[in-house]
Amino acid sequence: MPFAISYDAVDVLTTFAAKHNITYTLLSDEGSKVIRELGLFNENVFEHHAAYGIPKRDQCWGVPYPGVFLLDEQGYVLQKRFQQSYRERETGVAVLERGFGLTSSVRGTPVHAQAQGIQVAARLDSPTYRSFQRLWLTVDLDIDAGLHVYGQPIPEGFIPLTVEVTPGEGLIVGAPEFPPPTPHRLEGLDEEFYIYEGKVAVSLPLTFTHDADDTLLQVAVRYQAWSDELGCFMPQTVTLQVPVQVQDHIDRPRQR
């Protein structure tokens, strides 16, 4: 169950909850006592704002580092999710899926492609973005039975599985996260290979740093497959175009 803590007075929370139909618990830490006791008080908020060219505003004193704690049934901290930049935020879907391992029904529509021996689907954890929101792109691969796809590390001359998104103005592409591959020895070869079989999910973070227009993300999945029966296949590249729409911030018009 969710709790959101800020330094706002109760009446500010009452107004906000009514305006946005919020039914989960908002907690008022007026005076930032709990924020301070928990060590989350951002003493450097003015410096952080200055780094972005934002002028000093007294109302900012007292804010916490923005972030999320995930607690288990006994109330122990399972995970902390904070970003280096106070401006950056994950989606609720990312927190639930990547933090609690839940599957959310609210996601971007997947885009499908098919190539030699492999089905590919790409989806974002939200079909929309707001500036400085961090979206995760997940690429699901379904590899035909009997086929392997090379992972990393990999001997020279072979192509490992990679997922790339073409960066653009206002789009920062982070490093992809691969599941651990399985060590594998190929008959007649001395080198050790690491491979993927069956279903594989690769995720990478995308941060939109300003409100560009609705856009099509260009996703390239490169791989080389190998089968015991047919031997080594030529490297393949599958390209997908994933749509994402810009969304206004709550109570604030879009900035360009």
Partner: protein, 56 residues
């Protein structure tokens, strides 16, 4: 400035650590009622979000 900046913050040392019990928090909610976080949680998992402000 349109790039997310890296302020070099070590979040492992900021706030309750992973593996620690989250401290007892008792604060008023949006209805003005005192809420004891762990009591209301009542054995359920929870997300505790710290955010800037609902006023600006």
């Amino acid at each position: 400035m349109t790039t997310p900046l890296d302020f070099g913050i070590d979040f492992t040392t900021i706030g309750p650590a992973v593996g620690e019990r989250f401290p007892d928090v008792i604060l008023p909610d949006q209805h003005g009622q005192r809420v004891n976080l762990h009591q209301v949680r009542n054995g359920r998992r929870a997300l505790v979000v710290f955010h800037r402000s609902a006023g600006w």
